[in-house]
Amino acid sequence: EPEVTQTPSHQVTQMGQEVILRCVPISNHLYFYWYRQILGQKVEFLVSFYNNEISEKSEIFDDQFSVERPDGSNFTLKIRSTKLEDSAMYFCASSERTISGNTIYFGEGSWLTVV
């Protein structure tokens, strides 16, 4: 079965450093998402992306965050200046069509630890 792949699986970074998390969505999918889950808490929506632009974002997704689809296969999340509270598991997801009524496939996550 096709899957969403994410790299790195785990990254430790110093506070204030920039981090880029990478994702390869399922090949025929058109909608891409980032979610995060702080340890012991619920999965939270960050941003959705379609047709090379952000279609929706949450309050969490402030100016420190950005997303990009630099080529036909990768989808990246950049955190410009990491804070301790950015420590979380970040999940990339994709869907073939718009989220409404369709299955979203999640990757296995990138665990980010900010020290």
């Binding site: 909608y31 929706e56 989220i99 496939y105 999640f106």
Partner: protein
């Protein structure tokens, strides 16, 4: 304020029994509601989707109901197995939005 509530206490049942998990929501008008399974350190895995005009959906040993009057969804696993032990997440898509909002999940433990 908007809330999605799932029982935060773990549900422990014996193998072979039916597990029933509850998801209640407040101040949402979801067009769709979904259930996911999440194992420790892993990403959510989609299980079932139910639309607002559907009362019930089944897939193998899984059944989901959706009552928009009660603002509640029930998720059933029949003939439960130890391999069903995981956290089950309720998620909904509010009308007009393009994002999933998740509940905090209920951990199910099936004892052999």
């Amino acid at each position: 304020s908007q809330k999605i509530e799932q029982n935060s206490e773990a549900l422990n049942i014996q193998e072979g029994k039916t597990a029933t998990l509850t998801c209640n929501y407040t101040n949402y008008s979801p067009a769709y509601l979904q259930w996911y399974r999440q194992d420790p350190g892993r990403g959510p895995v989609f299980l079932l989707l139910i639309r607002e005009n559907e009362k019930e959906k089944r897939k193998e040993r899984l059944k989901v109901t959706f009552d928009t009057t009660l603002k509640q969804s029930l998720f059933h696993i029949t003939a439960s197995q130890p391999a069903d032990s995981a956290t089950y997440l309720c998620a909904l898509i509010d009308t007009g939005r393009r994002a999933l909002t998740f509940g905090s999940g209920t951990r199910l433990q099936v004892q052999p």
